[in-house]
């Protein structure tokens, strides 16, 4: 079983880095604990080639900053959906990537999205204090989620 943790966002735009930071935290933890079968990737934004990237995994967890009205973070299931299209779009949503994966490769991984609440989006690499707290909570949640997913195969 292969699990992909995929964070995205612009690390130069303050809390928009939350998805990337989460991926970095998990990458560090995976390396430190020598946890097998977990891959980590990140990018500024999702795009059509990510459909090929996720087609090689069994489980994918995307992580992104959220401006929506949530408390600290929310973990949701992603289902294929192409309705989030934008007219001059240079980026796509996790649901769109999943839908494209299904149509091109005839399969798609079980996919989830970790929304982490952000607050400020200025030109700086420093997360806001509240976003840092949310990141810490989300990171611990993600570690437990990965353990849970791997538990029936590996002893961590």
């Amino acid at each position: 079983m292969k699990i992909l943790i995929y964070g995205y966002g612009n690390p130069g735009r303050q809390d928009d880095a939350l998805g990337i930071k989460l991926a970095e935290n998990i990458e560090h933890w995976v390396q430190e604990k020598n946890i097998p079968n977990v891959e980590v990737d990140y990018n500024y934004q999702l795009n059509i080639e990510d459909s090929e990237r996720i087609s090689r995994s069994d489980i994918v967890i995307f992580a992104d900053a959220s401006i929506e009205e949530i408390d600290d973070f929310v973990f949701t299931t992603v289902t294929p959906d192409n309705s989030t299209i934008e007219f001059s779009m240079h980026a796509v949503s996790p649901a769109f990537v999943l839908d494209l994966c299904e149509k091109l490769y005839g399969k798609h991984p079980d996919t989830y999205l970790l929304h982490i609440k952000g607050y400020e989006w200025e030109f700086t690499e420093q997360l806001t204090e509240d976003a840092l707290l949310n990141l810490a909570k989300a990171t611990e949640f993600m570690k437990e989620k990965i353990k849970e997913l791997l538990n029936h195969i590996f002893h961590i």
Binding site: Y44, E52, S83, E86, S88
Partner: protein
């Protein structure tokens, strides 16, 4: 006056909208495309050490960070005394070119397969939810896979040359910080099907044939959609060849006469000025010698093939000759021919990548050049969407004191307004409500320029397309929201 508004609303910025003003007789009186471009970035870099700029500027945009990275590095080459373009070591210049052509290849592929080909293959009036690569995947799955893998190939070229996917560090003032390993080179040259350069060239040629086939069947539409005379501006190589990385600045008028004759872009401010208009945050650049009214110009693929004399790679040159013959050698002013030009550039980018990969200079270890320090530098590059200007001044403490950026979408401000106005007149005259045809036509017109309306920040949320219709008393009488 009736007013129609088409408004893609972003969560943070990159806010753009179209307003179409109707008179009492339902004639289109005026059309304006408003794009909010964030200018705060230029102030943000002030005070920062100059060598940080090539990494910092990638924060501007998650769509073409490589273009900003390289334009800034080129400006700083001047500041560290490495000169412009030719001053770098062979590996320094060629690694940057490889990075740039990788960027051009993946960006043009994305535009064609994700934004343009759905319009062509599925129809401009087809379901918007499927008028994208998903629709292509359903009806033409092989083509969709090509688009995905061409993007992936270009992205991997960028990662190999810039060092990493995000905030690449490959280009530094005076050169680069890594060369290309033999393993990396062989992977790009001879990778398992389809991830090798010969397949990329083959698919690029096939994409061009696809466009040409559509054009043959739909000449009237393609040749008459958003057509208006324009000046055109781009870099060209000193001998007049298409060069997307470096050269001199050339502009031609609507008839092809040179109106900016291969000047050194270090002096761009002597030739180009920017007008501020009260109704838009985005400036309107123009050629100073011609003036505000008639000095505006187009940049991007259409402009580049109008300014250059030839393309220095054989397959693209052959395609260029056919393209130029269509307008009898005169400048091409047909907005939808932007797709044709973009695909010729895609072939050129793939050919350049192959040429560079076969160049042994890429394995050299002489990465950086330095010379006598300067306190001002300008870097220009032909980004996928057009000419990108970066201009910096520094002080004796190596801090940036001034930054001026003119991005491609800003350069295309007036042409995009003209294109939208052209389609509005054709689609909206006599109409009292927003029609599907008008919405589609406005989108198609803007999309031909591949503008970067939504930059940088993209946290979860939606960017709907909003269309509002106002009567002559400014009351909203109709609204569409995607």
């Amino acid at each position: 006056m009736n007013k129609i508004t088409i408004e893609p609303v972003t969560r943070i910025e990159g806010h753009g909208k179209v307003t179409i003003h109707m008179d009492d007789k339902l004639n289109v009186a005026q059309t304006r495309l408003h794009v909010v471009e964030f200018r705060g970035f230029e102030r943000f870099v002030q005070g920062r050490p100059y060598w940080e700029a090539p990494v910092l500027v990638q924060r501007l945009c998650g769509i073409c960070p490589v273009s900003h990275h390289l334009a800034a590095a080129k400006a700083l080459d001047v500041i560290v005394g490495a000169g412009t373009g030719e001053g770098l070591t062979p590996v320094g210049e060629k690694m940057r070119r490889l990075m740039h052509y990788g960027q051009m290849f993946q960006s043009h592929a994305l535009h064609f397969f994700h934004l343009a080909s759905p319009d062509l293959l599925l129809g401009y009036d087809s379901d918007p939810a499927l008028r994208n690569v998903i629709g292509i995947a359903l009806k033409h799955p092989d083509l969709a896979v090509q688009g995905v893998m061409m993007r992936k190939y270009g992205q991997e070229i960028i990662a190999a040359t810039a060092g990493k996917k995000i905030h690449g560090t490959g280009a530094i003032p005076g050169g680069i910080n890594k060369n290309l390993t033999i393993e990396e080179r062989d992977g790009f040259l001879k990778g398992a099907d389809p991830m090798n350069i010969d397949k990329m060239i083959e698919w690029s040629l096939a994409a061009l044939e696809l466009f040409k086939g559509y054009h043959k069947q739909n000449k009237d539409f393609v040749d008459n959609f958003a057509v208006f005379p324009s000046n055109h501006l781009s870099l060209v190589r000193k001998d007049g060849a298409l060069d997307l990385y470096h050269g001199v600045l050339r502009a031609v008028d609507k008839d092809g006469k040179k109106i900016l004759n291969d000047v050194d872009y270090q002096d761009y401010y002597k030739y180009i000025n920017e007008e501020v208009k009260s109704w838009s945050y985005m400036k309107f650049p123009f050629l100073t010698s011609i003036g505000k009214k008639d000095g505006w110009y187009t940049v991007g693929p259409l402009a580049r093939l109008n300014t250059c004399d030839f393309i220095p790679t054989p397959l693209a040159q052959k395609a260029f000759e056919e393209y130029k013959a269509y307008t009898k050698g005169k400048p091409n002013h047909m907005s939808l021919h932007m797709h044709w030009a973009r695909l010729i550039e895609t072939i050129h980018a793939a050919e350049m990548i192959k040429q560079l990969l076969n160049d042994k200079d890429l394995q050299s270890t002489n990465l950086v050049t330095k010379g006598k320090k300067q306190y001002e530098g300008v870097g220009l590059i032909e980004a996928p969407r057009g000419t990108l200007f970066h201009h910096y001044k520094i002080n004796k403490d190596d801090q940036i004191t001034m930054a001026n950026l003119i991005v491609s979408t800003t350069n295309n401000n007036e042409p995009m307004n003209r294109a939208v106005n052209d389609v509005a007149i054709k689609m909206m005259t006599g109409k009292k409500e927003i029609t599907e045809g008008m919405k589609n036509a406005v989108e198609v017109a803007i999309r031909a320029y591949d503008p970067c309306l939504s930059c940088a920040t993209h946290s979860l949320g939606k960017m709907p397309l909003e269309i509002s219709l106002y009567d002559s008393a400014d009351n909203m009488i109709d609204q569409y929201r995607s």
